[in-house]
């Protein structure tokens, strides 16, 4: 018999039968000597069993057709067509300049180059991040870097956001009015997706970081040494600014 003191955690682990046999025996012996505590622990055990019995029938119900996993694996669901139309409509609006795309920054005058980049990044985000079938063209990071570097005719470095909990899903080359751009997509454990867009800048070759937002989307854009970057994600993600700073830092060490 050990003389370790009995803890509340031990008592709950006793209820869950999660203790080593030796410790379990010690708890049993303790409860024999403490009837009040024993009563409470017995009640917890009964209530645990009651809850299990009450919920058991749900797990025994036949699964509805919407939860047919084999079918989901065969043919992952596409977004409902109404949503696709909504995205198309949003795109038309933002191309027409009516989408309410707003750009602001303390030291930044909303000039052509960076504002266009921000818009391109948010368009890419809206189209590809919502795609559950094929959000990215290439998942292999080495292949991806080679492809986008060839198309952009300059070395492109993949931002690594793993320390912030975002994994690279992959990326693709996307068309813009200013030539090809590289899009990288990331997600975290919650399935939250972010998009980074980068391309050579024709104007605004160096521009301080500016926040922008429109609709459900928000982001930060900047340009260093002729290359522009824009990070876009769902509005309300607080970590966007530190993530943007991290990407900027990594890009400067090319």
């Amino acid at each position: 018999m050990s003389n370790r003191p009995i803890t509340e955690d031990d008592l709950h682990a006793y209820v869950d039968r999660a203790l080593e046999p030796e410790r379990e025996a010690e708890i049993s012996a303790y409860l024999e000597k403490h009837p009040d505590m024993a009563k409470r622990i017995a009640a917890y055990s009964d209530e645990r069993n009651l809850l299990r019995s009450a919920l058991l029938p749900i797990a025994e119900e036949p699964l509805p057709p919407q939860l047919n996993l084999a079918r989901m694996i065969e043919r992952p669901r596409r977004r409902p067509s109404s949503l696709r139309w909504a995205i198309a409509a949003m795109l038309m609006l933002s191309i027409g300049g009516l989408g309410g795309w707003m750009i602001r920054g303390a030291t930044f005058a909303p000039a052509g180059g960076l504002a266009a980049l921000a818009e391109e990044a948010s368009d890419s985000y809206k189209v590809y991040a919502s795609d559950h079938t094929r959000p990215v063209e290439l998942r292999d990071s080495a292949e991806l870097v080679q492809w986008v570097s060839n198309r952009l005719r300059q070395p492109v470095k993949l931002p690594d956001l793993s320390k912030s909990g975002y994994r690279l899903m992959g990326g693709r080359v996307v068309p813009t009015a200013h030539g090809p751009a590289a899009m990288f997509m990331y997600d975290d454990d919650h399935g939250e997706r972010l998009v980074v867009l980068t391309r050579p800048m024709t104007s605004d070759q160096n521009a301080p970081m500016a926040a922008h937002s429109g609709g459900d989307v928000a982001g930060f854009s900047w340009a260093d040494g002729g290359t522009g970057y824009s990070l876009v994600g769902p509005r309300g993600v607080n970590s966007l600014r530190p993530l943007a700073n991290e990407i900027r830092k990594q890009a400067q060490t090319i």
């Binding site: 917890y44 809850l51 009450a54 749900i58 797990a59 996993l69 694996i73 992952p76 399935g191």
Partner: protein
């Protein structure tokens, strides 16, 4: 992917049970499970551990929490379904049905973080470490939430919590 079908399909009933007990609305719960499975299909290659069980519960839990959060920010009252009698199967005796309905109603009164830990540990048999992963909190937090949840459910079932509420209402009425 065949691998996925073999490993994940047997877990679907438990995922449904967790979702239903957490959000209480039958259709909303199945939608969450569907969403969870679709995400799992897409991210199957990116999962980090060999045991898909905590991973799937984590995806499902996060989806449910996001839904709770959206409902709160919108200021919408989350509708709590009256427990459907069919949910308890036909074979359960009448008296048992009453008890089952009672425990479900009392469970629904718990804050959702307490409800979650009670379900993951007590019903779904996740280890404390796995429950911590699902909830994204340290094990110590799992243990303290579990203790609070068990005590709260116990008081609700004994009717003592109800009496406390009653007193509060009376005091308010007097002022």
């Amino acid at each position: 992917m065949n691998d996925m079908l073999r490993l994940v399909e047997p877990l679907i009933p438990a995922l449904r049970r967790y979702a239903r007990a957490l959000v209480r609305d039958h259709a909303a719960a199945d939608d969450l499970v569907q969403d969870c499975l679709e995400r799992a299909v897409i991210h199957w290659e990116q999962r980090r551990s060999d045991n898909p069980r905590p991973w799937l519960f984590a995806i499902l839990h996060n989806l449910a929490i996001n839904q709770f959060r959206r409902a709160t920010t919108r200021g919408v009252h989350v509708a709590i379904d009256e427990t459907n009698e069919d949910a308890f199967g036909q074979e359960a005796a009448q008296e048992q049905k009453v008890m089952y309905r009672d425990v479900m109603a009392k469970l629904a009164k718990l804050p959702h973080d307490q409800r979650a830990v009670l379900l993951l540990v007590g019903v779904e048999d996740l280890s404390y470490a796995d429950a911590a992963k699902v909830l994204g909190v340290p094990i110590g937090t799992v243990m303290s939430r579990l203790a609070r949840a068990r005590e709260r459910l116990h008081q609700e079932l004994e009717g003592t919590a109800g009496q406390l509420d009653h007193n509060v209402v009376q005091l308010r009425n007097k002022t």
